[in-house]
């Protein structure tokens, strides 16, 4: 069974600053995927970034990047140049390669970007 833990329930950041969200996971699988999903207030959850565990290179999507430490089972998300529209709940998730889209989610981190 997989578990995903997000230790920061809430974080705030000034506009244009950088914020890093922590995520740790536990899995016995060799091949798996990790994700960060974003859920703005009253909006759908959307995929922000994904990482294949077999890739050493950290994934990057514009202002969003991850620090994937496989041995430590850590998968943090960095939001650079924070914008007001980044205010949202952020969920870390994982799935074994063979498990299709049966994702295991962390508890979420609420990010508030302040003007």
């Amino acid at each position: 069974a997989q578990t995903v833990t997000q230790s920061q329930p809430e974080m705030s950041v000034q506009e244009a600053e950088t914020v890093t969200l922590s995520c740790t996971y536990d899995t016995s699988e060799n091949n798996y995927y990790l994700f960060w999903y974003k859920q703005p207030p009253s909006r759908q959850m959307i995929l922000v970034i994904r990482q294949e565990a077999y890739k050493q290179q950290n994934a990057t999507e514009n202002r969003f990047s991850v620090n994937f430490q496989k041995a430590a089972k850590s998968f943090s998300l960095k939001i650079s140049d924070s914008q007001l529209g980044d205010t949202a709940m952020y969920f870390c998730a994982s799935v074994p390669q063979a498990a299709g889209n049966k994702l295991t989610f962390g508890g979420g981190t609420r990010v508030l970007v302040k003007p």
Partner: protein, 119 residues
């Protein structure tokens, strides 16, 4: 941009009543899911659905739950006799593929959720 839509956004029901939550997935997607989030807890997988049958379900998805794609566009979750502990936000999602391989693994398209309150 295509979206997954869910209705109702909020439903209040009495314990023991039947509830149907509706979802319209993205039209060219083939795989459909229900997840739920009890207040203060994690989002958790309930069921996946493909080709008009359940492909996988969690332990939560007991005989009180059922899913259906009645008309080729809607995807419904029925709870036969609601319990207090069924109170949660229910999220529908769809995906173009199964996620077992390829670049789209884990890329689910979620709806905004339906909040169910059981009194």
């Amino acid at each position: 941009e295509p979206e997954v839509t869910q209705t109702p956004s909020h439903q209040v029901t009495q314990m023991g009543q039947e509830v149907i939550l509706r979802c319209v997935p993205i039209s060219n997607h083939l795989y459909f899911y229900w997840y739920r989030q009890i207040l203060g807890q994690k989002v958790e997988f309930l069921v996946s659905f493909y080709n008009n049958e359940i492909s996988e379900k969690s332990e939560i998805f007991d005989d009180q739950f059922s899913v259906e794609r009645p008309d080729g566009s809607n995807f419904t979750l029925k709870i036969r006799s609601t319990k207090l502990e069924d109170s949660a936000m229910y999220f529908c999602a769809s995906s173009p593929g199964s996620g077992t391989s390829g670049s789209r693994t884990g890329e689910l398209f979620f709806g905004e959720g339906s909040r169910l309150t059981v009194l």
